[in-house]
Subunit: 338 residues, 2 copies
């Protein structure tokens, strides 16, 4: 018998079902996985096959405002979201988990400063911000671990966006996922920079949700993914401790490519890369061959995120004129749980 | 103790070390693997980790003329090959295996009608034609299986180019590789067409020889390649017997992508695709979604080979204006062993 999302929510929020405020807002950073999450052991609860490790993106993310309302409405970046979109349905189903009575309606307004559904984890920060705002609205006063679990019920990688900095999502083994939440890694690396290179910011053709499911079901190499990503997590954790940027970068880049390799060998095949993606990869490799410590990671979209250090920022801006640079440790935008 | 190429050659040609002609010529078709050869269990003897299955490309291939000569010379498509190229060294080392005396010199002239080193198996047909010509020059009268073994010593996939039509290269298990040769599959499929789409005919940046070695050594998924390709061979063999083109095409395409997936997960990563390659793949998938039975396979280069049937040739020529169409069963250019 499978455990439902409703059951998990009840276990966590107990009888705190009555809104304590008319409106509440929160911000959550998007996050970039250095060791990727790819594949679920439980689709309903978004329980992952493996652990994963990410870095939160500071100022880049989503702000969500939730208000009690006479009508159910979802707004994204100032535009009303149509009720027949997948986005609308997914978010409403999520709110159904928390609705005190059937006729409680919410107005949900989300503003993001990143392209939506272009492999930049917009759903991760969106669901994390939503859960943080719900925590205020209902005065749950949940721990970060519990917020992380609640965010996971919306979107797997959202559980990592509850925190700033480096974050480890422990896969866990429990059937109800109560041990599957993210935790803050203590490492701080102020010189770390992430450069976002947009190749195409259009909606992707296949969602990461569907793509990872197809991979789990049909890729002949998938069974070796868990040991591949577990090894990468160990190396990256060690690299963070040692401040070994070369080890961090090579491992993150290889892990990203190992994930895309899985997709290439999936039936039907999934290729998120475009010509522009390949050209950028070749350019990164060229620069690295010339001695510049720069690496990339790619998620479920054609865009790349470069990893480099502050000292090389100017050189890289010259090479990639359109790059948006994020300093994950520049400042903490908001404490993780107010 | 490893077995050398010299030992294998001695076992096969015995004392037939004296040229019986001043000059001899032969042609061999290039071949396209439908189930790929990727990875060696013995580098010196080009013994493969797995079996593979190919189709020979009829008129597309190499003609090699070998003459006894006062000076050692290699000519490729009418141009003298410089002695300091890898190509020159590799071919001379191969001829060293057969040189009756240290001062016997050869003039080797090869003409190909395919781009060299662009993942179109130019070395496969080159070494196969060379071995066929040597067989005439020395009057060895070797069986096709033995010619296949000798060609393999030059380049692995050359062992398949000894034959026309569909060809199976049995991996074998013997240490000396005497059971690792190709054989003619009896299937004939006159309607089969292969369309060659050149994206870039420049020399590739990493040879398939080096690329497969890197894959074997560093790709975390490589250990699942043998079962992946063995399954594909079974399905393709069945598809050839049943004339099930859809099964043939989907399996060949998936196997090709599974090979490139290995390379993507290799350290450092190997990507033969270019932007144009990805665009062509997307176009093939679009046409197939519209009901056209067309598939692709990709080797160690950016170019694609389309698989389709005669009935769709005109439609596909409209879609791919630059495509060169080969009918593998149009005519037998030359019997496999004259």
């Amino acid at each position: 018998m499978n455990i439902t999302r409703e059951k998990v929510v009840s276990t966590l929020i107990k009888d705190k079902r009555v809104p304590q405020l008319e409106t509440a807002s929160a911000f959550a950073s998007t996050n970039i996985a250095l060791c990727k999450y790819w594949g679920k052991r439980d689709i309903e609860l978004n329980l992952p096959m493996t652990s994963s490790l990410s870095v939160s993106m500071g100022e880049l993310g989503a702000s969500t405002k939730i208000s009690l309302s006479g009508t159910e409405e979802i707004w994204l970046n100032g535009e009303a979201v149509s009720t027949n979109t997948l986005f609308y349905q997914r978010l409403i189903e999520f709110f159904d988990l928390f609705r005190p009575t059937a006729d409680t309606k919410f107005k949900i307004e989300t503003d993001t400063n990143i392209p939506v559904a272009a492999g930049l984890a917009s759903s991760a920060c969106g669901f994390a911000a939503t859960v943080k705002a719900l925590d205020k609205l209902f005065a749950w006063e949940q721990s970060d671990s519990h917020l992380s679990i609640l965010a996971r019920l919306g979107s797997g990688s959202a559980c990592r966006s509850i925190y700033d900095g480096f974050v480890l999502w422990n896969a866990g083994i429990a059937k109800d996922g109560m041990d599957s939440y993210a935790e803050d890694l203590e490492y701080v690396w102020p010189e770390l920079r992430v450069g976002i290179l947009l190749v195409d910011s259009k909606q992707k053709s296949i969602s990461s949700r569907d793509a990872m499911q197809a991979t789990v079901e049909t890729c002949p190499y998938y069974k070796l993914w868990p040991e591949t990503v577990n090894k990468a997590i160990k190396v990256v954790d060690e690299a963070l401790e040692q401040r070994d940027f070369w080890a961090l970068g090579t491992t993150a880049e290889a892990n990203s490519l190992a994930m895309h390799a899985l997709m290439l060998a999936t039936t039907p095949p999934i290729i998120y890369s475009q010509g522009g993606t390949l050209e950028l990869m070749q350019k990164v490799w060229r620069l690295r061959a010339e001695g510049l410590p720069v690496f990339f990671t790619q998620d479920a979209g054609p865009n790349l995120k470069l990893l480099f250090l502050q000292k090389d920022e100017e050189k890289l801006k010259e090479q990639f004129a359109q790059m948006r640079v994020v300093a994950p440790f520049a400042k903490v935008k908001e404490s993780t749980h107010v």
